[in-house]
Amino acid sequence: MAILDIRNLTIELDTSQGRIKVVERVNLTMVEGEIQGLVGESGSGKSLVAKAILGIKKDGWIVQADRMRLGDIDLLNLTPSERRKVMANDIAMIFQEPSSHLDPSQEIAEQIEEAIPSRTFEGGFWQRFQWRKKRAVTLLHKVGIKDPLSVLRSYPHELSEGICQKIMIAMAIAKNPRLLIADEPTTAMESTTQIQILKLLHKLNKVNNTSILFISHDIESVANLSDSLTVMYCGQTVESGTRDQVVNHPRHPYTNALLQAIPDFESNLAHKSHLYALPGSIPPLVHLPIGCRLGPRCPNAQKACVKKPHSTRIKGHMFNCHFPLEVTEDK
């Protein structure tokens, strides 16, 4: 069953240059218990999509969608208080740079205990004594912190980035969320810690059957972890499908460029030869091109690309391109 179903999500911002469509008709479907990767470079609107799902809105944002459902709840027709309840109970989010999202003036113990909702208490009234503290220790244990008691007594600045991220994950899973949104949880971490966090997320997904929306700019790490992938560019969905479809048989030139740009160990690229790169740079929000937003950078662009392409769907593999790449044979 689809846990998250979004159709034609459009987010507009009011700026001094007028109203800009930063996210244009994005579709996203997630099956219960899967890890979905959302890949895009900076300015692709992937964090905005996450915020729209969570319901964090700022003044001057206009969020519209044809359909936006979390399981059997319609997120569009909720009163603010009901919406808050859904946010509190069913969705959790972890952020980039975890040490800056923890309160620097409080000990970790207080912050975790605050994040544990009372509905998760199980047992008789005589077990109430210090149950939050015990649960905090179990949670830290679950996310793989070896010495929970000393971590609980520390302040965020005393801990490494990797440990802080594990604490954020512990706080997120304290309420047993149905959907966990991870917004670039491993950027600016070194590879050893990065792998630990990815392994932890993978374990959570397998053990608790938590659905994870994994947002990242690095297609390499996402492709490794996720079951299905959605690629975004400048606020438009470019391609989506299962991991195998997107990684091994990309049909959109942008996905292809992302994959080609990674020199990995298996590829037989000549040493110090040029890597495949799209020309130009990511357009700023105020100068978005019309039609297919990849147009000016695309190697296959033609006259038709000034119109927004219709999405083509083949066996669950969706791509938005006027001139899709040919299906390639298995590598």
Binding site: S191, L198, I219, L225, A261, I262, L269, Y276, I282
Partner: protein
């Protein structure tokens, strides 16, 4: 031809605790390596292994406690900064914070010329526009402020600032980590082109082993301030001998599903 040879370079700090107690902390100790002209040396290692401190010591941001850094056989460890600046330059990790937001790109590029050379105004302008063209920007970009440029363009300006004194060696500390993937390959291509044209040697501190393997000729693996493995990149990464190298490689290629 060997451009840079580093011999038993080490750096240690003294940290004071209270009035009387003090602690000696070693950032790196007896590091020795050589770098040939037009080659790239990669330094990899976990965080806290001293690779960034080593990069800083090479460029003179921090003074080493002992050892020698020789460029073309001349020890520059204690030489004046002007000499050193002209031969070895550094690019920093985050392009958005390494450029002064209040000065135009032209002024940013001119400041190393003003400080280290005695060129006339006109020659400086020529050098600035040459450097901008070399990194794939236009001479008109000299009028721009850093905030008007995108991340990739800022990194190009940072590279131009390093190139403008025509150095022999450029030290790049994690320059590719903060860039977007499609821009990253442009910068890699640019670095490779510049190296080919001008025969500049690069020292790259990096953590993406796929990229390291692609662009570097030699590699140094560091752990707790010591070089644990060194050699040709392909040889080291294909057949790692030390456990640290093996662990770094293992972390790079984790497969969650088969």
């Amino acid at each position: 031809m060997i451009v840079l040879s580093v011999n038993k370079l080490s750096k240690s700090y003294v940290q004071h605790h209270g009035l009387f107690s003090r602690k000696h902390i070693t950032a790196f100790s007896s590091v020795s390596f050589e770098l040939e002209q037009g080659k790239t040396l990669a330094i990899i290692g976990e965080s806290g292994s001293g690779k960034s401190s080593l990069a800083k010591a090479l460029t003179g941001v921090i003074a080493p406690s002992s050892g020698s850094i020789c460029i073309d056989g001349v020890n520059i460890a204690n030489k004046d900064h002007q000499q050193r600046c002209r031969q070895i330059r550094m690019i920093f990790q985050d392009p958005s914070t390494s450029l002064n937001p209040r000065s135009q790109v032209g002024r940013i590029l001119r400041s190393p010329l003003l400080l280290n050379t005695e060129l006339s105004e006109q020659e400086m302008d020529e050098r600035v526009s040459d450097a901008l063209r070399l990194v794939g920007l236009l001479p008109e970009h000299a009028q721009f402020y850093p905030r008007m440029l995108s991340g990739g363009q800022k990194q190009r300006v940072a590279l131009a600032r390093a190139l403008i004194l025509k150095p022999k060696i450029i030290v790049a500390d994690e320059v590719l980590a903060t860039l977007d993937v499609s821009v990253r390959s442009q910068i890699i291509n640019l670095i490779l082109d510049v190296q080919r044209q001008q025969k500049i040697s690069f020292i790259m501190v990096a953590h993406n082993l796929g990229i390291v393997r692609h662009i570097s000729d030699n590699i140094i693996v560091m752990h707790e301030g010591q070089i644990v493995e060194a050699g040709e990149t392909a040889a080291v990464l294909d057949d790692p001998q030390h456990t640290i190298t093996q662990r770094l490689l293992m972390n790079q290629q984790v497969k969650f599903r088969k």
